[in-house]
Amino acid sequence: MTAVLTTQISRRSPARLALRRFLRNRMAVAGAVFLVLVVLLAVCAPFVAGHDPNAVDLTAFRRPPSGEHLLGTDSSGRDVFARLVYAGRVSLLVGLVASLAAVMAGTLLGAVAGVIGGVADAVIMRTADVVLSFPSLVVVVVLAGVLGPSAPMLVVVFAACNWPTSCRVVRGLALGLREQEYVQASRAFGAGRASIIARHIVPAVLAQVAVVGTLLVAQIILLEAVLSFLGLGVQAPQASWGNMLTDAQNLTLIRTMPWLWLPPGLAIALTVLAVNFVGDGLRDAVDPRGVR
């Protein structure tokens, strides 16, 4: 009898419950499955592409999709499917790295602000206010205009403009955690602030931070796509989903070669939608009070 009870209790850890709630959300699971496929395609790009994404073949340009070129070729005779798969690497990497950097900085600063308080709190949170009201479009336009556009520049700007969201979330949680008995006890045993942040605050906020970070990935993939499309982001010949659509700004190409602009556009839309579904699913799984 007691044995049965303990197994039941141990199975219902918060993480397990959250996982079960997540798996019950069909949209989130579908999004997660789609994302796994996209990431696999991007990681295995050299094996699935079949062509060099930058190989110019002037004897076979603007060809419609065929067995040889699954999604046809572009104006320089480059294989569109190969470019699509390699572009996925760039777009996903920019989204993941920038979001991870923003969330890590935000978590650390938020935990410091919440645990230490006082002057550190005031300085960090006022800086967050300033960054939040900073028009990031201006930053990108000026930097791209004066220093020249590049993918690393985008990652730095996105990370620098997006840390305040997670910082505010973590600070709010840290203010509550700070007063918890186990944190008080650990402080009474002589634990320093750094170890309280590392051992008690950061692990306790990871779930909420993951939600913020996931939704941020979706936003950044979209932003990267728009900026690369405008020529302010990833530069040719390197392909990104956004700059593959730059070539389709000519009415003749839009009309006669849908295989040029439809696949990268759908890739952005479906990937961002999938990330948003996963993010919403995670949020509902982590904090079921928010569910309608």
Binding site: S133, V141, G145, L147, L222, V226, L230, L251
Partner: protein, 318 residues
């Protein structure tokens, strides 16, 4: 109330000064010697060895950095943003003639977006957890996930090139009639409207659900007000007040969307100007655009803060 506004004003002025210092430093870091950029090459060759030094002093380039920053900021704030490298016209004039089309595009999109979002959000709130509510949630998520420039290209393919209903680019056609601009406006404005209707709809729904649960709604019902009157006169009116703030916060996003759509539809607005200026390395115009956007965004932030306090008097007590 006044101290609240003053505090927000100070934050915004601080941010503007920060941006202006950043822009100023970047201008200095821009490649090329300003004298060589401003002076006619023949004059430069004929002027002799000390010509550049004299010109530098004349232009104030030898003054301390702080002095140059103050002079630059004063000129910029009074509308003197220098001259375009490409057209050699004043930057303020070049920017000025592009503001109208951009405002027309953004204003129409905002109006269309609200016309869709308010009824849809109300329906979703009243029929909570119904199929319509669920569908609106999925649609609004889908709408914010599809990049607007891709929707623009797809719309050109379907409505301009295949069906031939609307023109695909520009703002006017030579010899077009009175509805010419309107026909050009339909596609870009509708797509820009979609991108904001999604989030606005969620705000209307959330706000209305919160208001419908409030005590004063029960009071109104108890006094005999019918469901339409309770919904429209009492709940919706209060639910829409915070939307004013949301609109202000979304202005930068609306503007970013407009930049991309202007590019797709060759709409002669500020976004198109900025992108082509970046391509031509026309720094004065790029910087003028950036400063204009910075001021606009900060004014909207300030308006959002102030309107928030006006709509909800409890804020000012903090």
């Amino acid at each position: 109330m006044l101290t609240y506004v003053a505090r927000r004003l100070m934050v915004n002025v601080g941010v503007f000064l920060l941006i202006s210092v950043g822009v100023f430093l970047l201008v200095r870091a821009a490649p090329g010697d300003p004298v060589r950029m401003m002076v006619n090459p023949e004059q430069l060759a004929a002027g002799g060895p000390d010509f550049i030094a004299r010109k530098r002093a004349e232009l104030g380039l030898d003054d301390p950095v702080v002095v140059r920053y103050v002079v630059w900021l004063r000129d910029a704030l009074t509308g003197d943003l220098g001259y375009s490298f490409v057209s050699h016209r004043p930057v303020s004039a070049v920017l000025g003639e592009r503001i109208g089309p951009t405002v027309l595009l953004m204003g129409t999109a905002l109006l269309l977006g609200l016309l869709v979002a308010v009824p849809a959000g109300t329906l979703a709130a009243v029929r909570r957890n119904s199929a319509a509510d669920y569908a609106s949630a999925v649609v609004s998520l889908a709408v914010i996930s599809v990049p607007s420039f891709f929707l623009g290209i797809a719309a050109i393919y379907v409505f301009s090139l295949t069906l031939g209903w609307f023109p695909s680019s520009g703002m006017t056609t030579p010899g077009g009639g009175g509805t010419d601009v309107l026909a050009h406006l339909v596609l870009p404005a509708a797509i820009l409207a979609l991108s904001i209707a999604g989030p606005f709809m969620r705000y209307v729904r959330g706000g209305l659900i919160a208001e419908l649960g409030a005590d004063y709604i029960r009071t109104a019902e108890a006094k005999g007000a019918g469901p339409p009157r309770v919904l429209l006169r009492h709940a919706l009116r209060n639910a829409l007040i915070p939307l004013i703030t949301v609109i202000m916060i979304y202005v930068p996003q609306l503007l970013a969307g407009a930049v991309a759509l202007e590019q797709v539809f060759a709409w002669p607005g500020m976004g198109q100007l900025a992108i082509s200026s970046i391509g031509q390395l026309d720094y004065p115009v790029v910087i003028g655009f950036a400063l204009f956007i910075a001021v606009l965004v900060l004014l909207c932030n300030l308006a959002a803060d102030v309107l928030y306090a006006v709509a909800d008097p409890r804020i000012s007590l903090q």
